[in-house]
């Protein structure tokens, strides 16, 4: 006899739950089981104030094994990664790490990356960095480059082909 979520009729997925808990163990010692829903995480959550993210409900979904609901929800992409939830949890649970794992699972299952994530990933693949070197505008509306400011050349991967191959290999395997 398992719990069924009455709003979505979702069945708990024990395997997916175990997979997320395994990932969490790699990063920290405490699993979601210790959460007693005090909602201290939600009271401090930066994304709660603007985007209605409720970290304690994220933990509750994981505890019940309702992973599909978690992974398919757009709300997992609203986390600002301020880490107040992890910092203040009296049970040392880390909702932020559950959100990272859920987002990873969403990507793994083939869901489209939101916003600029694809562009950022492509830039890392191509240049090693999140973005190309920018020309900036000064307060007096002049434009300046890195070279003009007398800064040394950028440090980037020496063998781009090998660097790219490693990243592609990681993208192919299970995290």
């Amino acid at each position: 006899m398992t719990i069924t979520d009455l709003t979505s009729m979702g069945e708990p997925q024990a395997d997916a739950r175990a997979e997320i808990n395994d990932r969490l163990k790699r990063l920290q010692d405490h699993a979601s089981d210790y959460c007693y829903q005090c909602a201290k995480c939600t009271s401090g959550c930066e994304a709660h104030k603007l985007l209605e993210l409720e970290p304690h409900k994220i933990v509750a979904l994981l505890k019940r094994g309702l992973i599909t609901e978690l992974v398919n929800s757009d709300v997992i992409w609203t986390c600002m990664t301020c880490m107040k939830c992890r910092e203040r949890c009296p049970q040392q649970v880390a909702p932020i790490e559950i959100l990272f794992a859920a987002k990873n699972l969403a990507v793994q299952s083939g869901k489209e990356l939101p916003g600029k994530y694809t562009a950022m990933l492509q830039s890392i693949l191509g240049t090693g960095l999140l973005q190309e070197v920018q020309t900036v505008t000064t307060a007096a509306n002049a434009t300046m480059t890195r070279d003009q400011l007398g800064l040394p050349p950028l440090s980037v991967p020496s063998d781009v082909a090998k660097f790219q191959a490693s990243i592609m290999a990681i993208a192919m395997q299970k995290p």
Partner: protein, 294 residues
Amino acid sequence: MSSQRYALFPGCLMPTEQYAYELSLRASLPLLGIDLVDLPGLSCCGEPMKSVNQTLTLYLSARNLALAEQQGLPFYVPCPQCHLSLHETNLILQKNPAMLERINEMLKAEGLHYTGTTRLVHTIDLLYDTIGLDIIKKHVTNPLTGMKLVVHYGCHAIRPKELGRPDDSENPQKVEAILKTLGAEPITHYPQKLDCCGAPLLPNKPETALAKTGQKLQAIQELGASGVVDVCPWCHKMLDSRQTKAGETVAAKLDLPIVYLTQLLGVALGVDKEKLGFTLNLSPVHKLGLRSQP
């Protein structure tokens, strides 16, 4: 004073657009005996990819740590996001030999190997703990008198405490102590001090990211502070470069000077202001007398 060598880990944002941070740390830290070494071959630390693939984050952090280990040098990491990513990777690889082996298998392609020994410092602990306030005080030639400054620490420099961060998670005071040593009058507490700047939402929710920035800056402006000091290129991008747009989200005219700690350090140590990148601050830093009015 003997000099200490550090490999500089520039990250992505500082060396591609936040030039004022890089200019000012390169100009001021050598005066305090810090010898910065530029390493070839570095890449992104991987932190912004943590939402996409955490193994990728571990790999990218580890390859950079391996490059510093190869030279036998500690890393000076001015970006708190990079600092957290490299630090967390160190902790995971030290605790989990199977993961270390797996990452080293991936590093082989680039001829790299990591054993886990690269030490890290950020701007805050480099100045406060490594160099120390006594040494800084001896070098101050141009005290920052009359500046009533608040500090925006950002998130990654102080949380999560259990991993060990450059300053305390709930009552950080090291930057205020550094500013006092430089002759300024920091406002040590304010209600929004521990709040986020919004930058991590830039990739997928840019409007909300700006609203977050606007709310925090509006509150600081109402405090009557003469300026805000930060230690993170992401926070600075939001508070300084995007200040006007952030103001629009809260229907406020924001007019707050935003400066990097290393820029003020340079001023107090007597570095020529031209070398500290003040023309690149888009906020009104002329109100602090740091450049002529544009």
